[in-house]
Assembly symmetry: D2
Homo-oligomer: 363 residues x 4
């Protein structure tokens, strides 16, 4: 039977993406939609200014929007996806978890909490063990527990995808640079990035983005503590990460020019690196999750790829493309990573996390 | 009296820019225009498919185009600017120099010759001493000599502008990374970059560009040998340069995200760096050259600048903008550099080089 | 059993679209691929510079490309799709038809031949009766006949879609204006429209386009002669068509601002017009063709729609969107029509025409 | 001596353009800047988020912003330019006029008042006779009068430029269609048009625009009443105007595809039309106004022109370009008109109106 799904911030751009993905999903059904009090009480189709390239799904059109309180339909949800803005997400999500609900959030508010897994589902689903342990413990105590899982920042998601298998195979990366060329869809659309700012232009600044990318990478690649209750970040001194973030005139798809150095000498060869990336099968795929990419990482051999317009839709946006892998004169390797920022970098990851939770019986 | 100027490759995009700049120039007049045999014999206005935002200057309209041989009008030129494609530039420019002409070329063919100065006029005009020495020597021998000066690659020009005053003040830079977001005008317009490749897209590849940027930087920042006849590049092992080059949907203006490390410890402060950049006055300005920027480097303090559309025209495209100067977790500093690729990165540099030559009595 | 399909001009942009659509098609299989002698002998994946957002289908990768002669694999084809450029299409297609093959062509060469149906499959499949009659006659004579069907110009396809049901219901349209805002994908990609021509720009000219749009509309809306062997265009004096064609910075999707006047007075109401458009079911849909749109014409009620990025993919690009239908102060009505230029305006129409032929037993 | 100029709405996009034009103007000096109470009391450079491609002029940087009341510095102004949004312009401008000030406004609020001239300075400066008459009358009465002049809508300004000389020469136009492709700069930048709405897209709707274009054309081409106190619009039944307005991904420059019919039969020839346009010299040029275009209308002969990126800057944006003039199958002629929407379509027109007033001794 389909799991009941709720969406917080349902009228926003991330919320709309959640709804689109849920509407076609075999395991979930849209059960509750939450937005501001301005929208509450209206049918979703009247509350939303729908801006997706797919039409507004029928299954969502007539759902009556409620406020973002853990009441009514939300109380019946097996899983709640949050597309809330960070200025309200903090309080709302806290209430939902305290009310015993399972929340997967795209907001940044709790990403740095040690006991909140920050998960890119094709990279570190093992961090969900924190949740598994928590749920087991509660069950043992005869209680039901709410919990929160955070989706990573969009530019972090693409970056860590190739890093994970490389670290698994070749050991720690001790230096990493990433210059991003980020699509505008991540900024939403009301107003999002202004046309005057982005036509025939580049904006070499995204508020807070460089810090997020540098910090989150070290959490996502970190390990759990012995008790399986917290994530231990890779220490600052073990891994230098340097990011420069830019907004570019691209609708969807973040391109990242990265270079990296392995701690171990001598480093592997370019061919070794390519092979490891090609052979990587993410756990979500092994679990047979519906949205898991068939090919987690696409290693492209053409010298001018990946390109966002041509490559962002691989594996429905759940696959990450890596190209122009070559030796670097400063660190060991440089390469270009492309990921779909609204799929693996946002709502799509939320859905795949929920699929993993479902496969593991955690919702 | 105005110096007679010739333009090789006059119908191409670089040639058109030379003509535009010359048509308004107080020191030069358009005297000879060279193009392929298909165009030869036609008036310029009939030969060219003019694609500039300024209208075709009257002073060029009726000049009869000749072939690219050091004959006729070209023989009377004081200075010849070459906007030729590299597939023909090699042979033509050689002939012109052998015929005793002074040539300033935008082509890449001879950039790596040790006795050919590779000059960004706001950065290393002192490399023109090679020419001065050569001319003096010839004069002493009672002869007239031709010579060649190369304009640097467009993405190199912007990069080295802030590096020069920093190295002068704080000593050698031993590590440098640069990820470029390059405008399409540099690729010309027939066909140049295809619209299908660049609308809603990024191309993470420009043929040969990374190598040029890495190599040329070490020549431009190098010193002359004792005899003043050759440039000695900074040795590979003293300065690691790592470049990643991208084409982006911007008409004019190359944005470069760079990071760098000084050899000397401890490094200067961010404020030190800003001050040195702000106070830098290029030699061309000191010489009073017509096109020299009033402010060579604009240090922008807004966190989201420089931006190509807003900042590329500073000092008519001869000024370079640098922003978001901040400490880097891997190297010492990171910053964003913006330069106008068709001005300081191409034809404009050629004109300013000629102004310096003129100021020094070398043409 | 799948019908054997050939593609002429297989490496070009239209050819690539044919291959993509065929590779996923239940009724056709890729059997022969033809290109220039430069590509002949190579496997398709080596011959093509693939530029589609979907990856190169496996079923095409290893097909050995042959020249565009009605030989070898082409002779075994049930249907041949031509994506050839008009400079070679004329002769090649003639040879193929003379060799007894069924050809559906995207080229303009034979569109104005009276006995060649010019078909937008959601609009005038009844013009295929010419083919049916020809085939029957040949069969009766114990012979096999080749034939040619032309796909309309891309901007014509979108325009005539709403006109057809309106004319059927309200009688002749005697005046029509159409100003087009056409996507660049229609111009191909090597080089197609130059980036310098289309970034931050509009080009108010597409060679031959206005004439095509004005002429083809009168053929597509015309009737067959009594014998069912030729199309009789609507006479010039009965229907004035005035077109102005522009290229705009959009990847896919032609937007057309049209206004029209019915010959009959009084004209219908806006609501009448909307209802007729909404209720229109094209014959291809009635025949149950695989690619036929579920909703032939989408009447959009939001005042700012249709928009190419949001609406071009409706019914996989086979549906046409019409919006802002309102009274006009000069003619009767104005409205905005959006159609997908590479689907219903090119290769996609070719495939749907073949589906109709197949449904009617004509291949 | 320079006239003292004030700017209302000084921090907005139109206000910024006024300031830029005034800062370089020989006849005016920036004297008063007005904005919301949030900005009042700050120096302009601290109050504004400057978004122009020219840097913030020194003469404006330290002007202390005041509220939009006819007090303090504003009272000393010879002329006040209003770049206010229409939601506040109505009341503020009324107060300023009542306080005896001369106001030139870009807002739409009073454009339809019969005694308020709606002026495109290269088209109908004769409507300023209303002001002249008013000022004379007041002077005769020993009083000083305030007055208001409205700048037309941006898309109207370009449209009427070629119409004026045509009507003067060939008599009334009785039918006119205009489909516009409008740049985004007209919508301002906070937020203006969203990047998600305009990248790889067209928006076939601009609120109120079609109605403005249809109505204003008939006022601007109208005559004054006998008393010279009011404008009499061309009657609806004498001139049918039909507009369709679109927003396109262009920074500056409105392209308009128009067709028109003269009332008189037979119509002139294409060459007649071109000649009249070429020979048109606007009154502002005859008066020797500083900003008046040298060539009011540029008739372009290349078949693919005008184009916004290449032609918008002609005569510093005060010249209008017209191309592809050809016969029309429905009306008499079709052509493409390009005008710079922030110059002749907004602030620039305001400045040129003020120059005319100054030349006539009305300020």
């Amino acid at each position: 039977m389909a799991k009941k799904a709720g969406v917080l911030g349902a009228t926003g751009s991330v919320g709309q993406r959640f709804i689109l993905l849920l509407s076609k999903h075999p395991e979930f059904e849209i059960h509750a939609l939450g937005a501001s009090s301005r929208s509450a009480g209206k049918s979703y189709k009247d509350a939303v200014s729908w801006k997706q390239t797919d039409i507004l799904p029928e299954s969502a059109q007539n759902v009556v929007v409620q406020t973002c309180e853990p009441e009514d339909k939300f109380k019946e949800c097996d899983i709640v996806f949050s597309g809330l803005d960070s200025d309200v997400a903090g309080e709302v999500e806290k209430k939902f978890v305290e009310a015993g609900l399972a929340v997967v959030s795209n907001a940044k508010n709790y990403r740095r909490e040690k006991d909140v897994p920050l998960v890119v589902p094709i990279v570190n689903p093992e961090h969900l063990d924190i949740i598994e342990n928590k749920v087991k413990k509660s069950k043992a105590e005869g209680k039901k527990t709410g919990y929160l899982i955070c989706i990573s920042n969009c530019s972090t998601a693409g970056l860590v995808a190739p890093l994970k298998p490389l670290v698994e195979k070749f050991g720690p990366i001790d230096a990493l640079t990433a210059t991003t060329l980020q699509a505008i869809s991540g900024a939403g659309f009301s107003p999002g990035v202004s046309g005057m700012d982005i036509l025939d232009n580049i904006v070499p600044y995204i508020s807070g983005e460089e810090d997020k990318l540098e910090w989150e990478t070290k959490k996502i690649l970190g390990l759990l503590n012995k008790e399986g209750t917290e994530v231990v970040n890779i220490p600052e001194e073990d891994m230098k990460v340097s990011a420069q973030c830019n907004r570019v005139p691209v609708i969807d798809g973040h391109t990242e020019c990265i270079s990296l150095r392995f701690a171990k000498r001598p480093p592997p060869s370019v061919e070794d690196v390519k092979n490891v990336l090609r052979e990587y099968v993410c756990d979500a795929a092994k679990l047979g999750c519906h949205s898991a990419p068939k090919q987690t990482i696409h290693v492209l051999e053409q010298e001018d790829r990946p390109q966002p317009r041509l490559d962002r839709e691989r594996d429905n946006g759940y696959g990450v493309s890596v190209g122009t892998i070559r030796e670097d004169s400063l660190l060991d390797f440089k390469m270009v990573v492309l990921s779909h920022n609204t799929v693996i970098g946002a709502a799509g990851s939320g859905i795949l996390i929920a699929e993993i939770l479902n496969a593991k019986g955690l919702i």
